[in-house]
Each structure stands twice: as C-alpha cells, then as structure tokens.
C-alpha cells in the first residue's frame, strides 16, 4: 500500500481503481516472468510460474472490471454496474484450474528428475567404494 | 500386324498417352515388392511393359504424323492449372526413342546384373525413370513438364548410387545437387512466366501471351528465358553446368547407357527445344536476341566436350565427354532458325541416342568380359571380341560422322542448315568437332583391330568355345551382345535409309516445317 501512496503522492496520475489493479497485475506478471526465466533451480522456477499466472489473471480481472464499469453496449446481457464481467471471470477460473494442473504435473516431473539425479549421485559414490556391484541397476537402455 | 494397330478407334487415342505413362508406372509398382530371386517374373513384367510401349508408339505414329491427330488428356492439378498429356510429332519422336531403347537396355540390364544384388530396386527405379521420360515427352504444358522433369531427378538418384560404394554415392550427391539446382531455376522461371501469361500451354509458334510479354517488357522475359534454359541446360550438360555427367559414369553400364545417352541428357535438350519452339516461339526468341548467345554456348560446349574427351583415358569418361559435346549439336541445330538446321538438330536427338547407347553397351561388355576400362586395355580386343568391337566401330564411325552411319546424316543436315542460316561459321565448328571426334575415337578403333594384344591377362581368358581356331576368342554373353548389335544395326539402317517414309529424318523435317512454317 505504501507504493500506492507514493504513486498518489506523486499526484501526477489520478488512477482509477481499475487502472491501479491493471498496473499491479502487470508488475506481478513481469516480476514472475523475469524470475522464472532466469533461475536455475527447478522448484523456484515452478513457483515463479505460478506467480506469473496469478499476475496475468489479475490483469484479466482488472479488464473484467473495466468492461463491467463501462457497461459496454456490446456487453449486452450482464448486469450493468455490478462488480465483474461474468465471462472474463469464467476465463480467470479456467486459467486458475489449468495453472494448478500444470503445477501438479511440473511438481511430479521435478520430483522424478531430482530422484533420478540423487540415485545417479548415489551410484557414483557406490562405484567409488565397491565397483563390482554397479552397472546392473543402471539404466539398461 | 501393323494394320490391326492402325484401326485404333479415334476416341481411344487420347487414352494412349496416359496408358503409356501408367504402363511403366504399374511395371515399377509391380517390380518393387518382388523378392530378389524371382528373376523370371521380374524379367517378364519388364519385357511385356517395354514391348507394349513400343507397339503403342508404332500405333500412334501413323495417326499423329500422317493425319495430324493430337490426342490430349488433362487432369486438375493446381488451381487454374491442369496436368496435360498431349501427343505431337516431337513428343512421339522422343517417346519412340526412349521406349525402343528402354526395351533394349532392359534386355541388356537383365544380362548385366545377373550376379548383383538389389535387382528389384534397380528395375523398379528403371521403370520409374522411363515413366518420367515418357511423361516429359508427352507433357502438354510447362507445369506437367516441370513435374516429370523433377520426378526424373528424384528417380535417377538411386540408379546412379546403385553400387552403393562411397564413390558412387558422392557422384550421385553431386548429380542431385546439379539437378536440383537446375530444377529450382526452371521452377522459378515457370512461376514467373505463369504470373505473366497464366498456364503456359505448348503451342506451335509459342504459347499465347508470351510474344506480347516479350514485346511489352523484354527484361523479365529475358530473365525467364535464361532461368528456363539454364535450368534445362544442367540436364542437357551445356558447358558450365556439365560437371556431373563424367562423374556419374560410376553407375552400372545400363544406367549410363540409358540415362546418360538417352533419358536424362535428352530430357534437358528436349526441354530446350520445347522452350524455344513451343513456349517462346522462334520469332520471339529471335526478337529477344537470345539465339546467338545460345548458339555460341552450344558451339563452345561442342569443342570443349571433344577437347576434354581427348584427354580422358577411361573409356566411359571419354564417352561421357563425347555425350556432352554431341548433345549440344541439337541445341546448335535448333538455335539456327531454319528448317534444314532445325531438322538436323532434332534428328540428331535420335541418332545420337542410338549411337551413344551402342557405345555404352560395348563399353559395358568390354568392362564385363575382359575387364577393359581404359583405352590401352582395349588393345587387340578386335580379335578377342569381334562382334562387340564391330558394334563399337559402327558407333565410333557414327560419332565421327562417316557416311554409312546416322551421324553423317545429322552432320550433313546441320552443315547445310548452318550455311543457310546467318551463322556460316558454325560449319567450321562442325568440321573442327569431326576432326576432334576422329582424334579420340579412331585411335580406339585402331587399337581394337590393328594392334595385337601384347600380353593377355590369364584370368580374362574366359574359356571361349573350345574348338575356336583362334584361342584368344572370348565368348561374348548373348543377352549383352544382342542389344549392342541391334542398336549398331539401327544406326546403319537409319544412316542409309534416311529418306524412308517414317524414318527419323522425315519426322524431324515434318516437325521443323510445322514449327518454322
């Protein structure tokens, strides 16, 4: 919220509520994106992915508010003036569901990869101790 | 027998070009899955297809040449452009040559490849290659020509790489590189031309719209001409684009016989004749001013090919370079715009095919029977393989242009045509090339007959027929010898009876008059 005051204090820009959320959403999305693209660690990357997802969904919500607010003529049936445009909110919900699915899949993959890497490291240590036992459990490609 | 063929009902005629193309296609499709050891069945399919094709051509000749029928078949292919197969005398001319020589080369190949592997693959691609050649000859518009032209490239690659040695693969790769480059040049030319004048249908005196194009904006027309003739020049082995031909001699003898004497090389030259006569039309080409440079290029290729042949010691390499120079005779003849020279050029299409196939058959025989690959190894071969050497001599005399053979007829026509055109200096190119031909063929003939083989390598002493008075006489395998003798006989027959009713010279003259009026 200090950030908001700082912006207001600037006074240069008179932000409506919708523009404010738009700005915050974009900021979050960009931060998440940069973080995701630049980390080496997989789990950190997955979390950054979620942050970007949340950021983009916030943008969509801000847009939803805008259309509701302006009661756009083409909007047609949805209730004028009340909070959020229903279609876009449906969009946000689906986005959430899909991000969750992908995060689940990503987590399983990361566990598998790390598991394989640990096994790999364990083997290299064993080989150092008793070489004759190695090789069998190794990948028989 | 012939009378039965003549009564083919008129409405069946348009089906013949399609049947011709499909005939060897079905042969190929039937041959590919055959197991290696089913020699009889494979030979049967091959021969029936080849014989059927020759008969169809004979049936077409009276209809097309005598009473001017132009059977045509078209199928939708691209938006606004169809695949068109049309039979006109020039198409019949080239298709007849390739059908006849396909039959003879199949017989030769059956004998030649008896011991080797991958025969089904070989004969499958062999039939596909002839499909492409017949397709090229019957194509009615530039797109169909391009489709079969590229098909020929694809199909000849495995034939050149048949032996599977690294050398043959390298040669095949270089051939593919040249041919693909050429094909792309033709593609761009065709695209550009189609943009200007719509689908380019072959028509006597040039496709409609092209002459206006040449008048309206000559520069793009010139560029299109250069692209088309350059692309076709690759297969016609014109000077700067001939590098692949000598290398492709690594292929088995029947391949180098049919491909590099008839199918591939002639497809390029046939294309150039089509572009000159039926796309641009001779007047438009003259207006563009492209004929003289083409003439000079062809003349230079003739002399360059002969000069290079002089420096080769390997027989097949020497024949390859002689092919390069001989094929440019056709371009030379066509580039000189008068009936005599054009008929000389077109008739050389067939004559050179017959002569060169004979020479390649004999080269294959020499290599196969007495392991002779270079000219010096041929010493004294006349006594050991008299019939092959006789066929080779007929072919060699044909190349030099001595009278009883077909080579003399085309050289005489080209000579008189050259003097009638406005480039009389071409006569000296012909004379010079005859001298060069004599310079690199006569020593071989001299070595064959008049030099006694100093030492005869024991292993080549195949046990000849035991009671032959001449112990050196080697048994020449029948199935290889018969085609060579037949083509040699044809060279002599066509050379002597040049003015017979449907002899090649008459058809060529008929075509030339049709185009130049």
């Amino acid at each position: 919220m200090m950030l908001a005051q700082w912006a207001l204090s600037m006074g240069a820009v008179e932000l409506t509520q919708m523009q404010w959320y738009l700005l915050v959403g974009t900021a979050i999305a960009v931060i998440g994106l940069v973080r995701m693209l630049l980390t080496r660690d997989l789990l950190a990357r997955l979390i950054a992915l979620n942050v970007t997802g949340i950021g983009s969904l916030m943008i969509i919500l801000a847009l939803a508010a805008r259309t509701a607010e302006s009661g756009d003529a083409t909007g047609g049936t949805e209730a004028a003036g009340s909070g959020i445009d229903p279609v876009l909110s449906a969009l946000v919900i689906t986005g959430l569901v899909i991000t969750v699915a992908f995060t689940g899949l990503g987590a399983v993959l990361i566990r598998r990869i790390e598991g394989a890497q640990d096994a790999e490291r364990a083997h290299t240590l064993d080989d150092v101790h008793d070489p004759e036992r190695s090789g069998d459990a190794g990948d028989r490609e | 027998m012939v009378t039965w063929l003549e009564q083919i009902p008129a409405e069946l005629l348009p089906a013949i070009p399609v049947v011709m193309v499909l005939l060897s296609l079905t042969a190929a499709v039937a041959i590919f899955p055959l197991p290696e050891n089913s020699v009889k069945l494979r030979a049967g399919i091959n021969l029936t297809a080849a014989v059927a094709k020759v008969l169809l051509i004979i049936a077409l000749v009276p209809a097309v040449v005598a009473d001017g029928a132009r059977p045509e078949f078209s199928a939708p292919f691209l938006p606004g452009i169809d695949l068109v197969l049309r039979v006109d005398p020039l198409a019949l001319f080239f298709a007849g040559l390739s059908a006849l020589l396909w039959l003879l080369t199949t017989i030769y190949a059956l004998g030649y490849l008896r011991g080797s592997k991958n025969k089904s693959r070989f004969f499958g691609f062999f039939s596909l290659c002839v499909t492409a050649t017949v397709g090229i000859s019957f194509s009615g518009n530039l797109i169909t020509f391009l489709v079969f032209y590229e098909l020929l490239t694809v199909v000849t690659y495995p034939l050149v790489a048949h032996w599977g040695t690294p050398a043959s693969l390298r040669a095949a790769r270089i051939y593919l590189r040249y041919a693909l480059g050429g094909g792309l040049a033709v593609l761009i030319g065709v695209v550009w031309l189609t943009m200007y004048v719509g689908p380019v249908d072959f028509a006597d005196g040039g496709a409609e719209g092209v002459s206006e194009l040449v008048r309206a904006n000559p520069v793009p027309a010139l560029l299109i001409f250069v692209l088309l003739v350059g692309g076709l020049g690759v297969k016609a082995a014109l000077f700067p684009l001939h590098g692949w031909l000598p290398l492709a001699m690594v292929a088995p003898a029947p391949v180098s016989a049919l491909l590099h004497a008839v199918a591939v090389v002639k497809a390029g030259v046939f294309g150039i004749v089509r572009v000159l006569h039926d796309v641009f039309g001779v007047e438009a080409a003259a207006e563009l001013g492209v004929l003289t440079p083409l003439l000079i290029l062809a003349a230079f290729t003739i002399l360059y090919g002969s000069y290079q042949a002089l420096r080769q010691q390997e027989i097949k390499k020497r024949l390859a370079y002689s092919t390069i120079s001989q094929v440019s005779y056709v371009v030379l003849g066509v580039a000189m715009v008068n009936v005599l020279a054009t008929s000389g050029g077109i008739v050389h299409l067939v004559h050179q095919g017959l002569m060169k196939v004979t020479l390649f058959f004999c080269a294959g025989l020499f290599a196969e029977v007495i392991r002779a690959h270079t000219v010096s190894q041929l010493r004294g071969a006349g006594r050991r393989m008299p019939l092959t050497s006789a066929a080779f001599t007929v072919g060699a005399f044909g190349m030099i242009g001595l009278p009883p053979t077909a080579g003399f007829i085309s050289k005489w026509q080209l000579g008189t045509g050259a003097l009638a055109s406005e480039h009389p200096w071409v006569l000296w190119v012909l004379v010079g090339s005859s001298l060069l031909n004599a310079a690199y063929f006569l020593p071989v003939v001299y070595a064959l007959w008049f030099v006694d083989a100093d030492e005869v390598a024991p292993e080549t002493l195949v046990s000849g027929d035991a009671d032959s008075a001449d112990p050196l006489r080697v048994k020449e395998p029948k199935s290889l010898l018969a085609p060579a003798l037949i083509t040699a006989g044809l060279t002599l027959f066509v050379g002597i009876a040049a003015s017979l009713a449907f002899a090649p010279l008459q058809i060529a003259r008929f075509i030339a008059e049709g185009v130049l009026g």
Partner: protein, 565 residues
Amino acid sequence: MTAPMSLTLFCLAAVVLLPLLASALSVLLGTAARRVMGVITSVTVLGLVTPILIQVTSGQTLELALGGFESPLGITLRADGLSALFLAMTAIVGAVVSCYAAARPAATGKRLVPAAEQRRRSHPADAGIGAEATAHREARSVVHADPSPVWRAGHAGFWPLWLGCWSGLNAVFVSGDLFNTYVGLELVGLTAVALVALGGRDAWPAALRYLFIAVLGSLLFLIGVALIYSVTGTLDIIASGEVIAELAASHDADLAAVVLALCLISLGLALKVALVPLHRWLIPAHSSAPSAVSPLLSALVIKAALFVLLRVWLWVAGPLPELVILAWVLAGMGAVAILVGSVMALRQSRLKPLIAYSTVAQAGYWFLLLPLLLDPETTALEGQTGTTLEDGAVLAGALGGTVALALGHGLAKASLFLAAGHLKDLYGTDEIDELRGAGRAHPMLVMSMGLSAVGLIGLPLSLGFTGKWLLATSAVAAGHYWILVVLVAGTLFSAAYLLKAVAPLLVMSEDDQTALTLPQAQTHPDDRALTGKAQLAPFVLGLLTVLTGFLGAWLTGVLEVGAPW
C-alpha cells in the same frame, strides 16, 4: 435441418468428445485392452471426419452450439474449410500412428518396473504416471535379487494421454470461439508434456522445459484473448472479427488494445510453434520422446498452435495495417528459422535431432505469408499485360500455400520420425555413421524415408511442391520477390540435410568392393513386431505424402469455404 445435416453435426461434436471419452475409459482397461480401444477409437474418428469433410467440400460451413447454449456463454463448434483440412490430416496421421503403436507397444515409451514385483509375475503397482495398472505376461528371469527398479520398454500410459491429446487437437480445430481454443490448446499442451515424459529418464528434463514453455505461451494467449474480449465484447471468432473490422474502419482508439493483444497472442503461439529464437525446447523434447510419440509431436501438436495463429490473423484481426511491423518481424524470424534450422540439421550427427531441427526449419515456411496478407496489392504486376489475378487470389494463394506446406509437412514428418524411431529401436542407436548400410536389410524403411524426403524438399507430386508453388506464385503476384529467394535456399538446404540422413543407409560396400561391416540388430525378446508389418506404417504415410500431391486444386477449393475475404 435435413437428416444428413444433423448426422454431420453429430459427427462434429463426436469428433471432439469421443476421443476424450475413450481416453477416460482406457484408464480403466488393461494394457492389451487399451491397444484395442486405441485402434477402434482412431478408426471411428477417421470415420467421423469423412462426413464433415464431404459436407464442407460441398461448400457449407458447419456450425453447432453444444447443448443448445448460444454464445457468449455456450460452446459453439464451427468447421470451415481450414478446420476440415487440419481435422483430416490429424485423423490420417493419428490413425496410422495409433496402429503403429498398437502393433509395437514397445515404441510407446519406457516404464520403471520396481524390483519387488519382478520376481512375482503379479500386477505390480506401477510407479508410472497416474495409478493405472500394467499387466506383464512375459516370463521374467531374474538375474539376481537386486532391489533397484529396472526399465522396461512400452508404457501403457501412452493411450489415455494420446487420445486426450487427439480430442484437444480436434477441439482446437473446430472451436468457434477463442476461449474454447484456449482450453483445447491447454489440453493439447498438458497431454503433450506427459507424452514426452514417457520417454524415460533423459526425456524428463526436456518434458519439464516443454511444460514451462507451454504454460508461458498459453498465459500470453490468455491475456491476448482477454484484451480482445474487453474490446469487442465477444469471444466468438467471427463476431469479434466483424467488430474489429468496424473499429478499424472508424479508427477507434481501442485498436491499440487489439494490436497489443495480437502481439501477445502471436508471440505466445510462436513460442508453441518453436519459431527460431524460441526453438531450443523442441529439439530435446522431440528427439528424446519415444518413437511412437515424436511423430505426433512434430506432425500434429505444433500444428495446433499454427492453426490458432492463422485463425487469429485472418479471421479475428482481419489483416490490420497497423500489424505490418509484427508481420515483418514474424516473417523475418521465419526466414531465419529456415536457414538456422537447416544449418543446424546439417551439423547433427544423430538422426532424430536432425529431424527435429528439420521441423524447426520447416516451421519457418508457415510464417512467410504474413507480410503478404497485409499488402496483397498486385501493383507489382499491374503494368504487365496479361495478368489475370484479382485481389483475393493473392490471399487465397498465400493461405493455400501455407496450409499445403503444413499438411505436407505433417504427413512427411510423421513418416520420417516413425522410420527413424524404428531404426533407433532396432539398432539401439540413431548415430548416422553407425547406421551405415542399415538400408540394405530394410528396403521399405529406406523407401519411406526417401518418399518423405521428397515431400519435405518440396519436389513435385507432393503437397510440399503444391505449397511452394502457391506461395511462390502469390509472392510474385504481390511483388514480394524475397520469398522466392527464401524458398530456393530452403529447398536446397532441406535437400542437403535429408540427403545426409538417407544416403549413408544406402552404402553397401567400401570403395574396394569389400563388404561393409553392418550394424548388428539388437535382440528384442519383447518386441517381435519390430521387423514385421509395423514397417508398413511409415511406408503408408510416405505414399500418402506423394499421392496427396494431386490434391492441390481440391485443397484451394476447400479453403474457399468460410474464408474471411
């Protein structure tokens, strides 16, 4: 609505829902039953697509509101020329690959069989993705009681994932509105990542990377869709297209939002199609995927993103003049893709990465049409006499060319990847110089690789040639001569690297006629079909690549149905 009409509409809905249903059902079945289910579903989908194709070719766009809910809330399915063609290609490739996977279960991936149940021939609780049980009939001789898990060829998880992916693809092709397209894209992305993961240990990192890319792409797409909705107020493709057209006519300020949306959507989809600077994820994913999966990935999955791109650019955005910068950037990236992809393909020493890079290269071709869409004026040829091209012809030619190239690439690449995968499974490696002379024992495989090479290079009698011809003619008509240069360079390069892949297989003997030491095929107890009839699949696809060469005119006719111009 006449009887046949309702039948085709039923097919339209069934084509999306049936594979989904089959995917769910197959989770409950055993391994053998799944294969049977898989084949049956693929055949039925093939059957369902034909009436749609016939109906569309007769010139009618099929439109169905699922469950009667009209837009904007309901799901409308629309099948016009473009979607019918992509449906057909996906059905053909999908059916052939499914039969291949059914014939050779070992090709569907590798699974980790824990040591415990190796001794007991019972139903082990498989540690594979998802809880489905896998039954093993083969007798298991245990080498020695080693507790660590062992890799086995074949992964039954292939079927549910592949059928799910298929239904997602069909959903994308027939969806009438942007939101359903998004859902379809996500379904395809999710299942594709899982399919890649079936490839065993070294495929997992690639799968993870693919996951991140997929999610990123779809997030960008989602924001774009939201922006478009906020401006046009509707998600339906046709309706939003009309609204945007009005806005463009009145030079409304909101157009800036539409342009921004287009940028985000285009870049997101370029990411999914693996256009050059963003292509690195595709190479490990497609080459380490199992031999039955990589053809699906290369031939079908990236086509979904391309399909959406074409929908958005032609139907929704209806080429806006403001997009000229974006169009040139994408076309530039496409041209660079062709060159970089080919050069990298030339430098590969293994077969599957080479083919993956070939996909990257061929992807470049599909973006060349964008600048054409923006200024299709035929002034270049105005002065010339004899040109008969009217304005729409350039657009039709460009679209026809791109679609022909994409479909041709689908058939050819599927055949090539199947053949390459087969060789890899047979000889255990896909190093090109270790496979020298392998062609002698498998003439059918080499023939199908040759045929697909013809399709990829774009030699005549293949859809590749038709595509290049249409693209070239419309480029020359619109005066964009640079496309000709790119096409020529692309053709020559593709010939070079395909020759590098196919030629060594033909080698039979060293130069001095000594026999060549052939790679020895590894023993595959549990994969009897390896040398058997499974080789037919790549051959069938190869033949189709060449035979579809005749369909050029028909294809452009179908594309006219429901075309935006």
